[in-house]
Symmetry: C2
Subunit: 286 residues, 2 copies
């Protein structure tokens, strides 16, 4: 039985400017207030919305990095407290050991609830960031049990499975999806993967992309909120520039893993047969 | 570098009749000859095309079951030899121990190359079949390295990962997708999941659905051949009744797992972090 419990979530598809930290803070404040005013209780922003994405090199990234008690996260925490929302957004994190991480924070009225460091790094990120080693956090909030991961992480179904098995009802994913070629009339593969991730786990997903040409790169602009059946409730935005997408997500449906009289997407798993997924490029570990 | 190696594959979306084994054999022979005549070297047929799908009970299934040396597989093997093709099709298998399996055979000019028994059973199948315990086979054929699984198996990305890690270039999946509700304008979630499975593994997939009303059930009729980027090359058929879908699949692209200057869909996996996928409904196996 799907117990009724819904939450209004928002994806704010904005265009941060590389290196303009104050501009980006003001941008986030503007759209987060707008989302809350329109009823959102969970607000998702893009990957690296604090700094922009295409750093020239590690030196530039280092200069723009912040700690969790830096001005950007302080602002986000104060907004979450004032508006009584959950806010999930990406930032360039200065870690204590001197490394940088491509991170996302989940903040709410209680402050910083979780930090997540991207575990699967995309392309040039490998020269700048150290990958995270911790599974996606799953946080009990006033508005649902919410998990966080970032962009390319979504292309590893094993990774998405972890928070789903831990009971996440909603996965919030800040992303920056670089635009590439695709067949005419086809929905972007990035969005298709989000839909499949939702369906096989019966977990709602809010993936927030960005827009705005940055150092030669354009974006899919594919922000989307997907239900537990894998169908979009809002978006994909489709190259619409700045977009505020809102949807009412049925978290009760996400807790109910049954899909027929005799099937349950978690109960039907046969993990005793899956050990091979721990193989490295076809070779068993150990 | 994608080395050029293509194969023409076909999905024969036909309507087997429940219990009419001779009719179904003649149906398979007709469409397989047609597919080969149009250039297909790998031909995929639906799940349980030998028998039909909606058995009233185990007794009826038992009466229709065949062993791998029964008349249906003998026909399929002789067709594969005569036409020099790989043929993948589903049948109701009588096993030596008295149990039944929802199975698929891969046959080629060399005879029966692999039997696969569906590991994840759908709904009423649980009252009739014993689930298989063996990973999807991966067979080196004259037309590529080909894996086999069946229908609901595709909803477990861990399961799809196994043949991909074993080097499969093409996954052939006989399916019977019962038609359910979906939002207007949306591609069926079954097809979306096939696309995502292809993209995250860079493995081509040919999923062959059926048509024809059977004992109260209609079908998605969503047969589709998908490239290594996750985009359809032929289909989804879309309730078109009998359909012969053909596509030239680039198996070289499927061997090349690179998706950027610094990314590889297999090399970027971090299996040392994935042990949690062996958990049973959130509890670690122990």
């Amino acid at each position: 039985m799907s117990t009724q419990k819904t939450v209004t979530a928002a994806c704010c598809q904005v265009a941060p400017r590389i290196g303009e930290l104050e501009y980006n803070r003001a941008l986030v404040e503007r759209v987060v207030r707008q989302a809350a005013q329109r009823g959102a209780r969970v607000v998702v922003l893009p990957e690296l919305v604090q700094s922009g994405y295409l750093f020239r090199d590690r030196v530039e990234a280092q200069a723009l990095a912040e700690t969790p008690d830096g001005p950007s996260l302080r602002l986000w925490i104060s907004l979450a407290a004032e508006l009584d929302i959950v806010l999930v957004a990406g930032f360039c994190e200065q870690r204590d050991d001197g490394t940088l991480a491509n991170s996302a924070a989940l903040v709410d009225a209680g402050g910083l609830r979780a930090l997540y460091r991207k575990a699967h790094l995309w392309d040039g990120e490998k020269a700048i960031f150290s990958p995270g080693d911790a599974a996606p956090p799953v946080v009990d909030t006033a508005f649902g049990r919410i998990a966080v991961m970032i962009c390319y992480d979504l292309e590893f179904p094993e990774w998405v499975r972890l928070p789903a098995l831990a009971g996440a009802e909603l996965l919030c994913a800040p992303v920056n999806w670089p635009r590439g070629p695709r067949p005419a009339g086809e929905r972007p593969a990035e969005v298709v993967r989000v839909q499949a991730n939702a369906a096989v786990n019966r977990m709602t997903i809010a993936a927030c992309d960005r827009h705005g040409h940055e150092r030669g790169v354009d974006w899919v602009e594919g922000s989307v909120l997907v239900d537990a059946d894998g169908y979009p409730l809002a978006g994909p935005a489709g190259e619409g520039g700045e977009q505020l997408l809102l949807a009412s997500l049925d978290l009760g449906a996400a807790r109910d893993k049954r899909i027929s009289g005799h099937n349950d997407v978690q109960g039907d798993r046969r993990p005793e047969l899956y050990a091979g997924v721990l193989a490295v490029q076809g070779r068993a570990l150990g």
